[in-house]
């Protein structure tokens, strides 16, 4: 994991001093509300329905145990003792006081954390696959590139006042896309060209929200050294020509659509021709320097613990299920990737208490070289667990509530904070997730259904990624009442698809039934090997419509 050098440290400290000064001026009335707004947003502070919220950056989802412990302490000292994992691999505090925020930021800076650019019309945290570096099918570890992008985008003087927010995601696996890059403003797929050189396929203009779009490719191959100059060109074209007259038309996807992907690409190429060979072009040494922070931990030389695990599974059904669903294959023999689920029924998806943060830190130290990853599904990954210690780990996490073996199942719901917390919401989202989790509490049945992404957003802003859920739920406001619109067939990986709206929306109390009917249709229509998405793609939306609106 990346470690700050004296430059990073210095800038982090300077940033805190700057925000302290800005906060003091705001409190003294020297900054008008709208003048302070982008300053606090770019420090992660936004005001929600009930209180300010502080969104803390977790660069590409990586956290060390000392950072988790510090977060726990901060939630205790400055908040109500819990935090929330967001759908962008960040962490949110729900109740900080405005006056305390500079102190919180100072505490974060001490452990190399910050909240820079986690909100506002700027380049946000770059996200990637939570299994980076430990899965066997990636071309290279994408995290060094994320770190390179993080540094380039941090306090970028030209791009602090973009038309709208801007999100970049990187993926390095050919088979999976856990980072959902095609629904980002820029999606970078790491590829090799015919000559075997490493580079990126560049997608621009994807996004959810009001006008969901899958990002078209604007460059098939970008050599790795050209990463930053090309990003700078895309951003410059966007900064200059993106719409600023209408907030809902200001994302880059609208510009790409207006110019056509070809027209947009041409503009970028023309800009790039000027700066391509500038000193901003990366050097192999610069990339190597960053890569040197992402080397492998001190793995033991092991064999796969196949027999031991088989025996343990045989003796323990719960462990068997957990292993099947929440544990993934690691690239090193004898190791495994473990996902801790934060989706226990009765707790809002992604919520963790201070104590749980500390428990996760302890688990990281004990089982996984002191590091964890936060996922956009709002879970936490221990990436380097020895197979011969899985049983022990499982026994430890079940009482903590992290062992629900529902990873990627229907009840592993992605859910935004919604109307309980968010000022923009049309409807609550957490109670819907809760009601669905309660309705589908039979694990055997869930396993039988297989992987189904159910995503819930409380409004069009789509923080819960409802468009790309196999089942998507969107809160809508009908004459002051909360209703829910359902869409089907969304997908976020390489086959990224925007879901189709099923029909008129439903009242909250009907939602578990509606989901049950949808599941019913799937169960009746599926062939043996089909996932929910496969069946949907084969039979189309009509059978679902008929059943739900019958």
């Amino acid at each position: 994991m990346y470690v700050y050098d004296e430059h990073d440290r210095q800038m982090a400290v300077e940033r805190v001093a700057q925000f302290r000064d800005q906060t003091e001026r705001a409190l003294a009335g020297e900054l008008a509300e709208d003048e302070f707004l982008p300053l606090r947003l770019q420090n992660g502070l936004y005001v929600q329905r009930l209180a300010p919220m502080l969104r803390i950056c977790v660069p590409y989802g990586m956290l060390r145990s000392v950072q988790l412990r510090r977060l726990a302490r901060i939630t205790r000292d400055y908040d109500k003792g819990y935090a929330h994992f967001t759908t962008r691999q960040n962490i949110q505090l729900n109740w900080p006081n405005l006056e305390d925020v500079p102190d919180i930021l100072a505490e974060l800076a001490e452990v190399e954390m910050h909240s820079n650019q986690t909100s506002g019309n700027c380049i946000r945290n770059t996200t990637t696959d939570q299994f980076s570096g430990v899965q066997s099918d990636e071309l290279t570890d994408p995290r060094p590139y994320c770190e390179i992008i993080r540094q380039w985008s941090t306090f970028h003087p030209e791009f602090a006042y973009l038309p709208r927010k801007f999100k970049v995601a990187v993926n390095a696996s050919e088979k999976t896309d856990r980072a959902a890059i095609q629904v980002h403003d820029i999606g970078l797929q790491i590829v090799r060209n015919e000559a075997g050189e490493l580079g990126f396929r560049v997608h621009v203009g994807g996004g959810l929200g009001r006008t969901p779009m899958v990002a078209p490719v604007i460059r098939e191959f970008l050599p790795e050294l050209d990463l930053l100059t090309y990003l700078e060109s895309v951003l410059r074209v966007y900064n200059r020509y993106g719409r600023r007259d209408n907030k809902f038309k200001a994302r880059i996807k609208i510009l790409v659509k207006a110019l056509t992907p070809e027209g947009f690409a041409e503009k970028v190429e023309a800009e790039w021709a000027h700066i391509k060979d500038s000193p901003s072009r990366l050097t192999p040494e610069a990339i190597d320097r960053i890569k040197s922070y992402f080397t492998e931990p001190a793995y033991a030389i092991l064999d796969n613990a196949t027999e031991l695990l088989a025996q343990q599974r045989f003796e323990n059904r719960g462990f068997d299920q957990w292993l099947k669903y929440n544990v993934d294959v690691h690239k090193k023999p004898g190791y495994a990737i473990v996902s801790l689920t934060m989706k226990k029924t009765g707790t809002p998806p992604g919520d963790v208490t201070d104590r749980q943060l500390e428990q996760i830190a302890d688990l990281a130290d004990e089982y996984s070289f002191g590091e964890v990853r936060v996922t956009h599904e709002q879970n936490v990954v221990l990436a380097d667990v020895r197979q011969d210690r899985l049983l022990e780990l499982w026994q430890e996490i079940v009482p903590m509530g992290f062992g629900t073996a529902n990873l990627n199942m229907l009840t592993d719901i992605i859910c935004c904070p919604g109307g309980d917390f968010c000022a923009l919401a049309n409807a609550k989202s957490i109670p819907v997730a809760d009601a669905i989790q309660r309705r589908f509490d039979n694990l055997e049945f869930l396993y039988d259904l297989g992987e189904i992404d159910l995503n819930i957003s409380g409004c069009m802003n789509a923080c819960g990624h409802h468009h790309v859920g196999n089942i998507g739920v969107l809160g809508v406001d009908k004459k002051g009442e909360e209703f829910y619109q359902v869409s089907l067939g969304g997908a976020s990986q390489h086959d990224a698809t925007i879901g189709k709206i099923l029909g008129p929306s439903f009242a909250r109390d009907d939602m578990p039934d509606v989901i049950a009917k949808i599941i019913d249709v799937y169960v009746n229509k599926r062939t043996e090997e089909e996932s929910f998405l496969d069946t949907y793609r084969r039979v189309g939306i009509d059978p679902f419509k008929e059943r739900v609106y019958a």
Binding site: E14, D21, R289
Partner: protein, 168 residues
């Protein structure tokens, strides 16, 4: 006229007047015996008259393309870029293009809705002087310009990004 801020934080007397775009049909009225900034396209149109006149510069609005000045930048004693609203970030790109692409060497000024917390970015993008909105406290400018001792990226102030400085 309110004072202006220089990029090192010092405060100087302003000598330049911004001439607004004339209403439709009206002629450009240039006050004499003053140094003036006129809308960039009008400067270009009438450039024969202005080239060599060190008292007439041009200003670009945020939606104007700096490209219109590309061939003449150094015929201008000053170029100003207007920020109609501080949150309109187009002027940062305009500034960098004027400096880094078109090689503008004379004074580059930020005008309009210029506040304290944006000065650091303006400085990095190549602005030399800033006409602060009059209700803001000009004495705080020096502090706001200098919160950061360095940046990660190359910009107009340095063409070496941190990754190259780290290497040396």
């Amino acid at each position: 006229m309110p004072d202006i801020i220089f990029r090192d934080g010092s405060i100087r007397q302003n000598q330049w007047n911004v001439v607004q775009r004339p209403e439709n049909g009206e002629a450009l009225d240039i006050p004499t015996q003053q140094r003036v900034l006129i809308p960039a396209d009008l400067w270009v149109e009438n450039r024969e008259r202005f080239i060599g006149n060190d008292d007439v510069g041009a200003w670009l609005d945020s939606h104007d393309e700096p490209e219109i000045l590309a061939d003449y930048v150094n015929d201008l004693p000053m170029i100003a870029v207007n920020f109609p609203k501080f949150s309109d970030g187009r002027g940062y790109s305009s500034a960098r293009l004027l400096r880094e692409r078109f090689g503008f060497k004379n004074e580059l000024r930020a005008i309009g809705d210029v506040l304290l917390d944006q000065l650091q970015f303006m400085k990095r993008c190549g602005f030399d002087t800033y006409e602060l909105r009059p209700d803001k406290d000009i004495r705080k400018a020096a502090r706001c310009l200098n919160f950061f001792s360095q940046g990660y990226q190359a910009a107009t102030d340095t063409d070496l990004p941190l990754f190259r400085r780290r290497a040396s």
